[in-house]
Symmetry: C2
Subunit: 344 residues, 2 copies
C-alpha cells in the first residue's frame, strides 16, 4: 500500500522549515535550514526555493516512510507583495519534482493564523521584530499594519525598542520624557550613547537592532514608569490592529503569536486589558502552534478536501498542481489557478 | 595697502557654500557647489574639502578685491562626530594653501546658532529633515536631540512626514487614529499605498522621503484634526528640545531656523504656544540669518579678537593657523590646537 503524505514549509527571514507527515497527524520528520530563500527582481525566487526544498523533502519523505507527497503547503514571508513568480511557477515545479497533486501557497501571516487558531474565525497578532494582524470570518481575509518599522509595525519589537532608546536619549539630553533606567540599560548594551547612531544607521538590519532592546524595556518596566508607559502604548497599538481585523460578530478567538509573546507580563498584562476593552466579544486564547504547524493544519484540511479558510491570490492561493505532459521536460505548464474561491 | 578679508564656509549635505568679504561687512562674493564633501573611514575628508574649496576661495578673493584671507571659519555638518581629521589637518592646510592665520572649525549647529542669534545667549532649533537644538549661556554649549530619524529628531520634517504616513495607513487598514484626508494626500503623492513600503525602504535617503510628506501634513491640518494633532505633538517635541538647552536665567533668545520654519502657521502657532509655556523667560525672535551668515559672524568676531562664543573641540574649535616652514612643502605642521578655551 502507498503511504500518501504532506509536505509543509515555512519560508522566513531566517531560513526554511520543512516537515513531512501523514494528514491528520503531526509531522514524522522535520528539518530547517539557516539560509533564507533568495529574493530577486521577480520577487521570491521559485527556482532557489526548489533547489533548497527538493533534497530536504525527499530525505524527509524517506525518513517518514511517506511514498507520495500528494499535498504541499508553502507559507512564505513576503508572499503577498513578492509572490508573483511563486504563484506562476511553484505549483508546476512541485508537481514535476516531487509529484505534488494539490498545493497551497500562503502568506506567512496566513500560516501564522492557521497555526494559532486552525480554521476557526478570529484574529491573530503576529508580532516579533515587526507586527501584522490578520483576521477572518471565513469568507475573506483582513490585514492591518505590517508596514515595516518606518511606516508602522506599531507595537512591534522594533517599535518598543526604538521608543526605549528614544527615552534613553531624552534622559541623556535632559529632555522631558526621558528615563534614567533605560539610559543605563542602553549604555550597558550598546556603550556610550554618543556612539549609538553609528551602531544603528549603517546596519542593513536596523529593525532587528532596535528590536534587540525591547526585552530590556520589558525588564525596566517593573520599576520604571516610562518603560511601563511604552509597553502600555505598544499594547494599545496591538489592540488597534487586532480590532481592525477581528470579525465583529459571533465569538471569534484572538491570539498573539511570534517572539513578542515571550516579552512577559510587562506587555501581556496591558495587552490582555486592551484586547478585553476593544474586543469584549472575542475570546483570548493561547496559540495552538507556530506557522509551520499552520502549514501542517492547512495541508491536512486540503488533503481531506475540506479547507474552509478563504482563498485569495495574495493570501492563500490553492491550486491542483497537475503535470500536463510527463514526456517533455520543458512542456510543463502551471495549472490554472483558482483564486478567490474556497478549495473544497 | 593690503585688504585683509575672511573666508566663510558652510559645508552641508547638499554641497559647499563659500563667501569672502571684509570683517564687519556682508560678503562681497559668494558661491555654492552642488556636491557635498566626501566622508570616508576617517570622517569628513579634509583633502576633499580643500580640493573643492581652494579654487573657489581664490576666485572669490579676487572678485572681492581681498588680498589676504587672514581669517577662515568652516562650519561642517557632522563635525561633532566625524571631525577628527578636519581638526588635525585643516588648519595647517588652510595656512599653507590660502595663507589663513586664524581659523575656526565649527559644527553646523554652531554656525546655525551664530547665524540666528549672533553671539547672544539663547537657544536655536535647527529643523529641516532632522532636528537639533543648540543653546549657550556663553560659557558652554548644550545640545539636545539630533539623533537621526530612528532614534530621535523628534518634531523634524522626517518625524512629521512619518507620522502623517502612519495616520494614512491607519485609515487604509481601518485602525484607530487614521486620517482619510492624509490617506488621499499620500495616494496623490505616492500612488496606491500598498506600494509605499517599496518606495521608502530601498532608498538610502529614507529620512528625506519621509520629510517630503511633511508639507502635506501642514496643508491638511486646517481641516483635519489628526494632521493638526501631529503638528501639535511636533511642536511639543521641539519645545522639549529647546527647553533642554536654553539658559535658565536672564533673558535668552529662542529662534527656529532651517526648512521647518517654512511650514506655516499650522506648525508655527502651536510652536509659539509651546515655547511660551515651557520658556516663559525667553524672547522668541526670528533668526537673523542662515548658517553661512553664522560663519561670517564668527569670522568677523574672530578677526577682531573678540569671539565670545565658547570654544569646545566638538563644537567650535578655534586655532591660530600658523605655517612652520614655508621652504619645505612636506614640513608643514598643524599648529598646536587650543581647544576648550575662548579665543580672544
Amino acid at each position: 500500500m502507498t503511504v500518501a503524505g504532506y509536505l509543509a514549509v515555512d519560508s522566513g527571514g531566517s531560513g526554511l522549515r520543512v516537515a513531512v507527515g501523514v494528514p491528520g497527524r503531526a509531522p514524522s520528520a522535520q528539518r530547517e535550514t539557516r539560509e533564507p530563500v533568495r529574493t530577486g527582481a521577480r520577487g521570491i525566487d521559485p527556482a532557489d526555493l526548489m533547489t533548497r526544498l527538493v533534497p530536504l523533502a525527499r530525505e524527509l519523505a524517506a525518513r517518514a516512510g511517506v511514498d507520495e507527497l500528494g499535498t504541499a503547503v508553502i507559507g512564505a514571508a513576503g508572499f503577498a507583495t513578492l509572490g508573483d513568480a511563486l504563484r506562476a511557477e511553484l505549483p508546476g515545479a512541485l508537481a514535476r519534482e516531487l509529484g505534488v497533486a494539490r498545493a497551497a501557497l500562503a502568506a506567512d501571516a496566513v500560516t501564522a493564523y492557521a497555526g494559532a487558531l486552525g480554521t476557526r474565525p478570529g484574529a491573530v497578532l503576529a508580532g516579533g521584530t515587526g507586527l501584522i494582524a490578520i483576521g477572518t470570518d471565513l469568507t475573506a481575509w483582513r490585514r492591518a499594519d505590517g508596514w515595516g518599522h518606518l511606516l508602522g509595525d506599531c507595537g512591534s519589537g522594533a517599535w518598543i525598542g526604538r521608543a526605549g532608546l528614544e527615552a534613553a536619549l531624552r534622559a541623556h539630553d535632559g529632555r522631558d520624557g526621558g528615563s534614567g533606567p533605560l539610559l543605563r540599560c542602553a549604555e550597558e548594551r550598546f556603550g556610550p550613547v554618543r556612539g549609538l547612531p553609528g551602531l544603528v544607521y549603517p546596519r542593513t538590519d536596523r529593525p532587528a537592532v532596535l528590536a534587540s532592546f525591547a526585552p530590556l524595556v520589558a525588564e525596566c518596566a517593573a520599576h520604571d514608569p516610562v518603560a511601563a508607559d511604552i509597553l502600555r502604548a505598544a499594547a494599545r497599538h496591538m489592540a488597534d490592529s487586532a480590532a481592525a481585523v477581528c470579525p465583529a460578530d459571533g465569538r471569534p478567538e484572538v491570539a498573539l503569536t511570534g517572539g513578542l509573546s515571550r516579552m512577559g507580563d510587562a506587555l501581556m498584562v496591558p495587552l490582555r486589558e486592551e484586547l478585553a476593552r476593544r474586543l469584549p466579544h472575542a475570546r483570548q486564547v493561547l496559540p495552538e502552534g507556530d506557522p509551520l504547524h499552520g502549514a501542517v493544519r492547512i495541508a491536512t484540511e486540503l488533503a481531506a478536501g475540506r479547507l474552509t479558510l478563504p482563498g485569495e491570490p495574495a493570501m492563500l492561493h490553492v491550486v491542483a498542481a497537475t503535470v500536463r505532459d510527463r514526456t517533455k521536460p520543458d512542456g510543463y505548464r502551471s495549472p490554472a489557478p483558482s483564486p478567490n474561491r474556497r478549495a473544497r
